[in-house]
């Protein structure tokens, strides 16, 4: 039996007295693309943020390649180098040029030489189609360009897993395509990806598995064909009828 690269068991998360995640159990395997869908406030972003401990769960177990995140002796910074994350609001560093945004973590965390980091950064900028933007500041980028730089920045650490937190939700509609294209390319190359999104087309086309969450629980999961084509749960049917 194949070991999951991410294993989540009995995960609970609450903000104060407000429970956000209840008994989440999810296994994600190497090279799998898992898409998490659900209405706003369903806890899907919180779930994603628990995977690199940007949110600390109350109880349960999260293992990344077998290493427990709940174990106090685990060095979370080391785990995070293997988990790239892309945010809804891009979160580029506005005081650094595009190339510096991408080079910073490889140099400071991976201890690469600036030369090596620069080569990697340029290679990744080429990959996301933004070679000519290396020396500009993020403020001069469009939303779609900023998000592609953010993806390049995460990839520069050569992570094993990429987490996407609604990467296209803050974009103007005409820019969604360019970001999704980069993500599709990544998926095709075999990157393990967990994607929280409202892009049902992407979920259907690229996802190996779809997880539908509502009110902090996993209501249904399966292949895109199962979940979109033949949803078993009434709540899934209701949600899909609204968004499709």
């Amino acid at each position: 039996m194949l070991e999951p690269i991410i294993s989540v068991k009995n995960l609970y998360k609450a903000f104060g007295s407000h429970t956000v995640l209840t008994d989440i159990n999810v296994d994600i395997y190497n090279q799998e693309v898992v898409v998490v869908i659900g209405p706003s406030g369903s806890g899907k972003s919180t779930f994603l943020r628990c995977l690199n401990l940007l949110e600390e769960p109350q109880s349960g177990e999260i293992r990344i390649e077998g290493t427990s995140l709940m174990d106090k002796s685990t060095k979370i910074n080391d785990i995070r180098t293997e988990l790239g994350m892309v945010f809804q609001q891009f979160n580029l560093f506005p005081h650094k040029k595009v190339i510096e945004n991408i080079m910073l973590a490889p140099v400071q965390v991976r201890k690469w030489t600036p030369d090596k980091a620069r080569r990697k950064a340029l290679e990744l900028l080429d990959k996301v189609g933004l070679s000519e933007k290396a020396e500009v500041y993020p403020a001069s980028l469009s939303g779609g360009q900023a998000q592609r730089v953010a993806i390049a920045r995460a990839l520069a650490m050569e992570p094993k897993i990429m987490l996407f937190d609604e990467p296209t939700s803050a974009l103007d509609p005409e820019m969604v395509g360019e970001v999704l294209a980069v993500m599709k390319e990544l998926a095709r190359e075999g990157m393990t990806m967990v994607v929280v999104t409202h892009e049902m087309g992407f979920a259907r086309e690229v996802g190996d598995r779809v997880i539908f969450m509502e009110q902090g629980v996993v209501v249904e999961e399966g292949t895109p064909e199962q979940v979109f084509g033949n949803p078993k749960q009434e709540r899934t049917q209701l949600f899909l009828s609204k968004v499709l």
Partner: protein
């Protein structure tokens, strides 16, 4: 009314010596106060209330009591207690630095907390430690936002250093008062002092404008 430029010119070397000390005291207090303030500011952002509490008290004491009272406490109480005898120059450094640290701490805290949480999250998600995130991501952005507030604080500090004259620190105001006593004239010493203070603070604000644009 006759305005006697001759006594100003006669006294100018002494006033300029006082001005140099005013600048020196201000620079040292700005520097020490800022460094101390960064520490106090971090202390006030500590996660637990009992770690925050001493820093909270420090800031409120120095913001909530008159500087002149603090100067007198430092000069006649604190310095003799540690140093044996008192020393006007040392009192100036200590009193103004401690006072400035309290205000600087709040400037640092406000600046740091004004940076979007997403910046820290992005840094952490790349594997950076909290310290690295602070150093490379948060502080560089925060300091730029802090500059106008620090400009205010530095200007206030330069002006408030004149209060040191009451414990006979031989800075600009001390010599101004001496000049007034020697010539029994009002306008010449005070207007000269006002002009020199204005030149100092105005240059400082211009300098900070340049720094802000450069960053």
């Amino acid at each position: 009314m006759d305005f006697r430029f001759d006594i100003i010119i006669h006294y100018l070397p002494v006033l300029l010596r006082g001005t140099m000390l005013t600048i020196g005291v201000s620079l040292v207090s700005i520097l020490v106060g800022s460094i101390l303030g960064l520490g106090v500011g971090f202390g006030k952002m500590a996660p637990r209330w009992y770690w925050r509490w001493p820093f909270h008290c420090y800031i409120n004491f120095f913001r909530g009591t008159p500087l002149i009272v603090q100067i007198l406490i430092v000069h006649f109480g604190l310095i003799p207690a540690f140093y044996g005898s008192t020393n006007a120059l040392l009192s100036a450094f200590v009193a103004l630095s401690l006072n400035s640290a309290a205000y600087s701490a709040e400037i640092f805290r406000a600046g740091i907390q004004s940076i979007d949480q997403g910046q820290q999250e992005a840094a952490l998600s790349l594997g950076m430690s909290k310290r690295q995130a602070m150093r490379f991501i948060i502080l560089p952005q925060a300091i730029k936002r802090m500059i106008p507030a620090f400009g205010n604080e530095f200007i206030v500090l330069v002006k408030d250093s004149s209060l040191m004259s009451v414990v006979a620190t031989q800075e600009l105001m001390y010599w101004t008062t001496t000049m007034k006593g020697q010539y029994l004239r009002i306008w010449e010493p005070y207007l000269t002092a006002a002009l020199i203070y204005f030149i100092l603070t105005y240059s400082l604000s211009k300098l900070l404008n340049v720094v802000e644009r450069r960053l």
